[in-house]
């Protein structure tokens, strides 16, 4: 066998190994969610038993709803604050404390979640002690997630702002747009794709966070990852498989839809560009 086909074979084998490593656990999880047995590891026969159990498991459903609510609100806050930070750092070049803000805003990206969670907890406890506010619960989890999400949203929006032609702002101003009109008519519409991806990213971050939530949540506020985590310690119940499968299906559908939309837009754009060149050569 030649060297080239050997390499090809190796590459293919490696690829399959990686796919198995990545997806076998997920496939197993999905398959076992349809298992009738109470044991997670032993297959008896197919049934929808655990989906019925899930429908009755109000604690778990409440946790999912709470997680969705927190993810949605904290993603909104993250995108808002992250965009403000990105603008301050990229559109206003010189101001006091810029370097400090620039390095501090990316700190949560590298800081271990445990440290962030612990320090937030200490802060909230002492705030409670002195001010009697805030109570641990929805608000504190939201703030923690928004803190982390802001750092990520800042990175996404910053990269978009950097690649955007700064001359567009100047052109708008030159044509008579006041600064706020420059933002609403030019900058904001062009930022929308970045804002959407920042939203999706921070939504996901918040939705699967367990460390920060554990530090910051109070009685009656257990998020989905927290519930799954605590039940796993008591011995897994296939209901968890069912809820995981539902999540996977929803997420996969969203990912497929968004990539289909993106590639469709890309193809349309390419076609139109080709059209422009053939027109101009007539």
């Amino acid at each position: 066998m030649s060297q080239a086909s050997n390499n090809k074979l190796f590459a293919k084998g490696w690829m399959i190994a990686v796919y198995i490593f990545l997806y076998l656990p997920i496939i197993t999880l999905v398959v076992f969610s349809f298992n009738d047995s109470k044991l997670v590891t032993v297959w008896s026969h197919a049934s929808l038993r655990w989906y019925e159990a899930l429908a009755k498991d109000t604690a778990l459903i409440d946790a999912v709803l709470l997680s969705l609510k927190i993810a949605f609100l904290s993603a909104l806050m993250s995108v808002l604050f992250g965009t403000f930070t990105a603008f301050a750092l990229n559109r206003y070049k010189r101001f006091k404390g810029r370097t400090l803000l620039s390095s501090m805003s990316s700190m949560p990206l590298v800081m271990p979640d445990v440290i962030v969670g612990l320090s937030l907890l200490l802060m909230i406890v002492s705030a409670q002690h002195w001010l009697g506010y805030p109570q641990k619960g929805l608000l504190t989890i939201l703030l923690g997630h928004a803190l982390l999400g802001t750092a990520y949203a800042n990175v996404v929006v910053t990269s978009r702002l950097r690649e955007m032609d700064g001359k567009l702002d100047e052109a708008a101003m030159d044509l008579g747009a006041k600064p706020w009109q420059v933002f609403t008519l030019v900058t904001f519409p062009l930022l929308i794709p970045a804002l959407v991806s920042a939203f999706l990213l921070t939504f996901t971050l918040s939705f699967d966070d367990v460390v920060l939530s554990s530090f910051l949540s109070g009685p009656g506020y257990s998020t989905m990852p927290m519930v799954i985590f605590s039940r796993a310690r008591l011995g897994l119940n296939p209901t968890i498989n069912a809820v995981a499968t539902v999540t996977i299906v929803v997420v996969t559908m969203a990912v497929i839809a968004s990539s289909f939309y993106t590639s469709h837009q890309e193809r349309k754009r390419k076609r139109e560009e080709a059209q422009a060149y053939s027109d101009s050569n007539k």
């Binding site: 100047e170 052109a171 708008a172 030159d174 044509l175 062009l190 139109e272």
Partner: protein, 373 residues
């Protein structure tokens, strides 16, 4: 457009833009523009020409209002606009990158400025249609900028900056983004549109050809100040310094000393030859000067010229063929290399000179310029 037909050879002598002693200093130390003053007449196309970092773009950006001068004032039609923000100036700019709004159609791009002025809808539609026909882009009104070719995008950028009928139009390297072939046709289109509208123009460029073909006056800039301001032919034929002569076109400069200084002629002795200049100059006897001689004004022959002045001899060391003309590099006996450009006015390519030949370069007594600094 509703402008009266006007005589382009005789612009109205009315000052539109006046820049008074403008200086721009960045970060407290870097002088981008150094005490520049200039006036632009109504209807003029004025070019700021210079290499990168000479301050021409900074000057243009101060006219547009994107930068404020550290010192000095800018007046437009007598009104002090030094501190007005860009969106309050009756000045529009065409950007080098065009800066078309990618999320808006061609139509909306052109209407952008008109809407900001709160113009009634039917008038906007009317004006945009006029602009589209001016740019011959009526068919493309609903397209997005990325669906247009480079030349079309450029025309959209131009008519977008003309749509508000600005008193002054600023062009930043208007042809910088186009390839050479497209440049020539676009240059003419651009000038035609500008002249049809009759707008006063200040353009910035590093390309001397672009400046010479488009502008009625040129300011050559270097290190933040003007070296020379004048009409294109004056700047080319009568450069006032070695720097200008060197920057605009090709030039051979002979260093020498004025030997004879008369009212109707001077002679300059150089190591290579003696120049007889057929007019008086503002120098004095014994003064060290440079004699600038453009390559196209030099004639080559194999035979030794008979006169005493205005010729020198050397060896042909390089022949560069350009199609319409050929440039010969001649190594003089002193070791100096000069360039001579010969027009290829017959199809017979062998003018008799080849590598290694001894050739004589000669020129007439009005071909050169004496540079005193």
């Amino acid at each position: 457009m509703a402008t009266a037909p006007k005589d382009n050879n005789k612009p109205a002598q009315e000052v539109l833009l006046r820049v008074e002693n403008v200086t721009k200093i960045y970060d407290g130390t870097v002088k981008a523009v150094d005490d520049v003053s200039l006036t632009v007449m109504k209807g003029e196309i004025f070019a700021l020409l210079g290499g990168s970092g000479c301050g021409k773009s900074t000057l243009l950006r101060m006219m547009a209002g994107f930068e404020t001068p550290t010192k000095g004032k800018i007046f437009l039609a007598g009104q002090d606009i030094t501190d007005l923000p860009p969106y309050q100036r009756p000045i529009n700019m065409m950007f080098q990158s065009y800066a078309l709004f990618p999320h808006l159609s061609v139509w909306e791009n052109i209407a952008f400025g008109l809407k900001r002025d709160g113009m009634p809808k039917d008038q906007i539609a009317d004006r945009v249609e006029k602009m589209l026909s001016l740019a011959q882009l009526n068919k493309y009104a609903q397209r997005k900028p990325h669906q247009l070719s480079g030349g079309q995008q450029q025309r959209v950028a131009l008519v977008r900056s003309l749509a508000k009928r600005p008193q002054l139009l600023l062009l930043d390297e208007p042809l910088g983004a186009l390839d050479k072939k497209l440049r020539e046709t676009t240059q003419l289109e651009l000038v035609n549109i500008i002249e049809e509208v009759g707008v006063t123009c200040v353009l910035v460029t590093h390309d001397q050809e672009e400046a010479m073909t488009m502008a009625s006056r040129i300011a050559v800039m270097s290190e933040g100040y003007f070296l020379q301001v004048g009409e294109p032919d004056a700047v080319y034929e009568m450069p006032n310094s070695r720097q200008v002569a060197d920057f605009i076109g090709n030039v051979n400069i002979f260093e020498g000393v004025i030997e004879e200084d008369e009212a109707d002629h001077v002679t300059v002795r150089c190591p290579e030859c003696v120049h007889y200049v057929g007019h008086g100059v503002s120098g004095h006897k014994g003064m060290a000067v440079g004699v600038a001689l453009r390559p196209e004004k030099i004639m080559l022959s194999k035979n030794k010229p008979t006169g005493e002045y205005n010729w020198c001899a050397g060896e042909v060391i390089e022949i560069v063929y350009f199609g319409a003309h050929t440039t010969y590099h001649l190594k003089l006996d002193s070791g100096k290399v000069i360039k001579a450009q010969e027009l290829n006015n017959t199809r017979d390519l062998s003018c008799g000179l080849t590598w290694g030949d001894r050739a004589y370069a000669h020129w007439n007594d009005l071909a050169m310029v004496v540079l005193t600094h």
